[in-house]
């Protein structure tokens, strides 16, 4: 009980700093997610059109995914140096698999007769893709984004190890200073962020599912 009061007192004193760090955290995640979406959807589309490429692309994305996050960050640091941009690269890499895979599955799941109707009515390949296939795979894509988002928020907390910012900063300095309040605050806000993102994306997913079911 005491600890809780102490924690809120800490939050009360340091909220401005925490807010700035939270913002930094979100920015890294959002930029990473944005880039991952562009690359991932593209690779997902390519995969859906070519099974041979699909198996290669998915295998590579899978390989990246199983790489331990601290190890990946360190390797990336060797190539790209210290700083937040290296963190963003890591976030992109981690987000790729769920996005590629879900785009791929989403496109594959679109009913063949629906696609056929599009072509038969006179849509060209792009129109079928953008007006029929992609819109219909949005619920799948959202599920992928949801997974990627939660992973990214977690991985971004490791940013300070390679010179990045965000909520990891308070955790990191809390460890150094043996100040549990700092550790808690960073960890709890990051967790809250992840839960919030998961919740919102879950809602969005439901909404899309409803309009199509």
């Amino acid at each position: 009980m005491n600890g809780l009061i102490e924690f809120f007192q800490y939050l009360g004193k340091n909220w401005a700093d925490l807010l700035a760090l939270t913002f930094e955290h979100i920015v890294m995640v959002v930029i990473g997610m944005g880039i991952a979406l562009v690359i991932g959807i593209l690779l997902g589309i390519i995969s859906s059109k070519n099974e041979r490429l699909a198996s290669i692309i998915l295998a590579v994305a899978n390989l990246i995914q199983v790489f331990p996050s601290l190890a990946l960050l360190t390797v990336l640091m060797l190539f790209f140096g210290l700083g937040s941009s290296t963190v963003v690269i890591a976030l992109v890499l981690y987000s790729l698999l769920p996005i590629i895979r879900n785009t791929y599955v989403g496109l594959k799941e679109v009913d063949a007769s629906t696609t056929q109707a599009g072509t038969g009515l006179g849509m060209n390949t792009w129109q079928v893709l953008f007006k029929v296939q992609l819109p219909l795979s949005v619920p799948f894509l959202l599920a992928g984004v949801r997974i990627a988002m939660v992973i990214s928020i977690g991985v971004a907390a490791l940013a300070p190890f390679i010179g990045g910012g965000g909520l990891g900063t308070t955790i990191y300095s809390g460890i150094n200073l043996r100040d549990p309040m700092q550790i808690y605050s960073g960890a709890l806000v990051a967790a809250a962020l992840a839960i919030l993102a998961d919740y919102l994306l879950g809602k969005a997913q439901k909404k899309f599912d409803k309009s199509k079911a």
Binding site: D111, S113, Q116, A117, T119, G120, L121, G122, M123, N124
Partner: protein
């Protein structure tokens, strides 16, 4: 007019799906492609909008080789209804129907207007259905939307691939009836694929029966029923239907072979005279080449009789209905029932009069066939 000339189709896996297909589909008619599953109906249909290209041979629409038309452009000018309906689940009914007009960049207002028009045409209240999603509609309603979508950009050709086969029997019959009614209004060239003979007989102007990638027989439903080319056709049509047809006579068997006729240039007194002599109240008007012009009735003659200058040419009226020599008597009865006409002239394809059927002819025929009907009861 759609023409297929010596068309072969070999799929990538080497399977020869079509062998030397020759056929024509006339404008404004429903041509039905029928045959057992896998005989190549869908393949044939898809040749028409270039979803498939022939390996050999030509597909012509209005004498133009469609291999020279951009497939996307071609498809936008041809309506297409598929078996699994294939509505876009993420679009409202209105957006679904408006797909092709949007691709053709019609302005918004015309699209909205057209969508409402089409919803009315297929019997769905625009107010109610416009902004619904396909999943909120029954199967029958969905396929109505499928048909509306195919009609949206006013194509003159519509392709339908087993459009009603996934529906329950009641909706299926309903949609067949509606298609027949609709076709009277819109007069499109429809190519319709089915494997259901009842459906084909109900809607077809022409039936093309296929087997193993070849055409076994093509012609009017009547011709297939009366003169099945071989045992396969007989089996496919079904013995029951053939027997039914054999019992019913056709027009040329029961018609009056020498109806009382007159020529346009005859005067009214002459006409009157002919009627008196032959004891009839109506004369069929033909020209010197025996081409059917119409009829004059005794009432018309009497009304105009005072005017000595009037001739048959001035007062004759065209027949509302005519039939061919092979028309079933049962079909003639339907026409009598549905119209006020008392006479059906029997003409050849080139409009030459060869006989006449009256209500009296039918009664007379039934009297011959069922001489003792009704003498037991009451």
């Amino acid at each position: 007019m759609i023409t297929l000339k010596n068309v072969y189709k070999q799929y990538d896996d080497g399977f020869e799906a079509l062998k030397n297909i020759n056929l024509t589909c006339e404008d404004g008619e429903i041509t039905v492609l029928i045959g057992p599953s896998g005989c190549g109906k869908t393949t044939t249909l898809r040749l028409l909008n270039r979803l498939i290209n022939p390996t050999k041979g030509k597909v012509l629409i209005d004498d133009k080789d469609i291999s020279e038309i951009n497939p996307v452009t071609l498809r936008r000018s041809i309506g297409y209804v598929i078996q699994h309906i294939g509505l876009f689940p993420h679009m409202t009914i209105a957006s679904n129907i408006g797909v092709v007009p949007r691709l053709l960049k019609w302005d918004k207002q015309s699209i909205t207007k057209r969508v409402d028009e089409l919803l009315d045409l297929v019997g769905l209240e625009p107010e109610t259905y416009r902004s619904r999603y396909p999943s909120e509609l029954s199967g029958g309603q969905q396929q109505r939307i499928g048909v509306a979508r195919a009609l949206a950009a006013e194509p003159s050709i519509i392709l339908m691939d087993e459009p009603f086969s996934a529906l329950d029997p009641i909706s299926r019959e309903q949609l067949q009836d509606e298609l027949v009614r609709l076709q009277k209004e819109i007069k499109k060239s429809i190519v319709f694929v089915t494997h259901d003979m009842d459906e084909a007989l109900k809607i077809a102007d022409k039936i093309i029966l296929m087997k193993d990638g070849e055409i076994v027989q093509q012609g009017k439903p009547e011709e297939l029923l009366r003169r099945p080319a071989n045992d396969f056709v007989k089996n496919f049509i079904g013995q029951k239907r053939l027997e039914k047809v054999e019992e019913i006579p056709v027009a040329k068997e029961v018609m009056i072979r020498k109806p009382v006729t007159t020529y346009p240039r005859r005067g009214l007194a002459e006409a009157m005279n002919a009627m008196e002599k032959k004891q009839v109240d109506t004369l069929v008007v033909i020209d010197e080449e025996h081409q059917l012009k119409g009829y004059v009735s005794i009432y018309d003659v009497l009304r105009e009789y005072q005017d000595e200058n009037k001739r048959v040419d001035d007062i004759y009226q065209p027949f509302e209905h005519t039939i061919g020599p092979e028309t079933l008597l049962s079909d003639a009865v339907v026409i009598f029932n549905e119209s006020k006409t008392g006479y059906l002239p029997v003409i050849t394809d080139d409009n030459k009069l060869i006989g006449l059927i009256t209500r009296g002819t039918i009664v007379g025929y039934l009297g011959d066939v069922y001489p003792s009907v009704g003498n037991g009861g009451v």
